[in-house]
């Protein structure tokens, strides 16, 4: 599993880093983000890349598993 810690980063960095990780094609990608809109953007990215995204809140932040 590749983990992308994008917490606290400005747009579009979280999506860019997640996209790079997805493109490596090494299976599951876990993305950590701080903002709700970043969670939505990562979910949309996963969908556009034909992947399934599962999100959950971790405290005030979010964890998205892309597989």
């Amino acid at each position: 599993m590749i983990e992308v810690d994008a917490r606290g980063l400005s747009c579009p960095e979280p999506v860019m880093l997640a996209d790079q990780a997805i493109k490596k094609g090494e299976g599951t990608v876990k993305v950590l983000v701080s903002e709700p809109h970043q969670k939505t953007n990562i979910e949309k990215l996963a969908k556009s890349r034909g992947k399934k995204a599962t999100s959950k809140a971790v405290g005030s932040e979010f964890e998205i598993i892309i597989e």
Partner: protein, 369 residues
């Protein structure tokens, strides 16, 4: 309700913002400004006495409404996050650059779109500069540009800017302390309640839809994602219909009275600086106000940079003048970019390049993995 998860919802949000802009224009806001962030932050800076350009002083309730609308909706929906610490002083400089570039062109990206919808060819030309500026910012992002992480802060830090805006609203409505233009653009405005309501509505819609003029082009270039452009298309469409229906649509380059000039090179370079700086800062002036409303101290610092940039523009003669008709002779006097403005614009672009290629991911503590 999430407005950003489908193109249709985004289009509806854009149409909503366009209707608000059309109402504000109808009820008296100056030519093609509707709720131009650069113009109105500049007017607010004048009202607070940060500069002394008499024609552009009015504490615009639209700006207050945008921040408070974002603050209220994010608090209600649990999206308010008080955070900061992502290179705040660089963001301050980027805020200044965005304002200086905007006042050389005479409008923020929002006003550029509104001017485009009113047939102003200069705005269409400036779009080239804006898109090139965004593209340069995207190139920097691909090369690893980052301002580093923001961290959670105490709630009080995120509330400061909304509280200051509420304070200015109280000063505007309950005191005579603020300056107020008796002539010029600052004297033209919709009634306070309509302006405030317009700002609140757009603040809510922009917060829920993530509306961003720089982000629209940026996402199209970087990710082939056209979602944010859909909102702008909605706003453009409504304003185009409004302008044609009310006789405000005038196709041309030297139209007097619309607060614009036709100095092509500087229209392009001004908006190039704006597009470049906006991508580095993570959003256009509107988006910075919205992010500041939902708790970002970094965006609040960028907004303070906008205010400082506005003050510098009018204290040091950097702002351009619009083409106008001489009231006595009836002659058309072409608007112009000042020599100081041209020097400032070049410096702003150079500063953007320095910031873009000296702040790298992995090059300092706190940068991305």
């Amino acid at each position: 309700m999430n407005l950003s998860d489908s193109k249709l919802k985004l289009l509806i949000a854009g149409i909503g913002c366009g209707l608000a802009a059309a109402c504000l224009a109808y009820f008296g806001n100056p030519a093609n400004m509707a709720f131009c962030i650069a113009c109105f932050v500049r007017d607010m800076a004048g009202a607070l006495g940060l500069h002394s350009a008499a024609p552009v002083q009015y504490a615009r309730p639209e700006i207050i409404g945008l921040v408070l609308g974002s603050f209220v909706i994010s608090a209600v929906t649990g999206e308010f996050r008080s955070n900061g610490g992502s290179s705040p002083m660089i963001r301050f400089i980027l805020g200044m650059v965005i304002m200086i570039g905007s006042l050389i062109f005479l409008g923020c990206p929002l006003r550029m779109v509104i001017r485009m919808s009113a047939g102003d060819i200069n705005a269409w030309i400036a779009l080239i500069g804006f898109a090139c500026g965004v593209a340069t910012g995207c190139f920097a992002l691909k090369k690893g540009f980052s301002l580093g992480r923001a961290y959670e802060t105490g709630t009080g830090s995120g509330i400061v800017l909304p509280a200051l805006m509420a304070g200015v609203l109280i000063l505007l409505t309950c005191t005579t302390l603020l300056k107020f233009s008796e002539a010029g653009p600052g004297s033209k405005h919709a009634p306070i309640l309509i302006s405030l309501a317009g700002g609140l509505v757009v603040g809510v819609l922009a917060q829920k839809s993530r509306m961003c003029f720089a982000g629209g082009i940026r996402d199209a270039i970087l990710m082939r994602n056209f979602d944010l452009l859909t909102i702008i298309a909605g706003l453009f469409g409504v304003m185009l219909i409004f302008n044609i229906a009310t006789g405000r649509f005038v196709l041309g380059m030297n139209t007097p009275g619309i607060i614009a000039h036709s100095d092509t090179l500087w229209n392009i370079l001004g908006m190039y600086a704006v597009g470049f700086a906006a991508v580095l800062a993570g959003g256009c002036p509107l988006r910075q106000l919205i992010l500041a409303g939902q708790g970002s101290s970094d965006s609040a610092v960028t907004v303070l940079g906008l205010f400082t940039g506005a003050a510098l523009c009018h204290n040091f003669g950097l702002a351009s003048s619009g083409t106008a008709v001489n009231a006595e002779t009836g002659e058309v006097v072409a608007g112009a970019v000042t020599a100081n403005g041209k020097i400032a614009c070049v410096i702003c672009i150079a500063v953007c390049f320095i910031i873009a290629f000296t702040n790298k991911r992995n090059s300092k503590r706190g940068a991305a993995v």
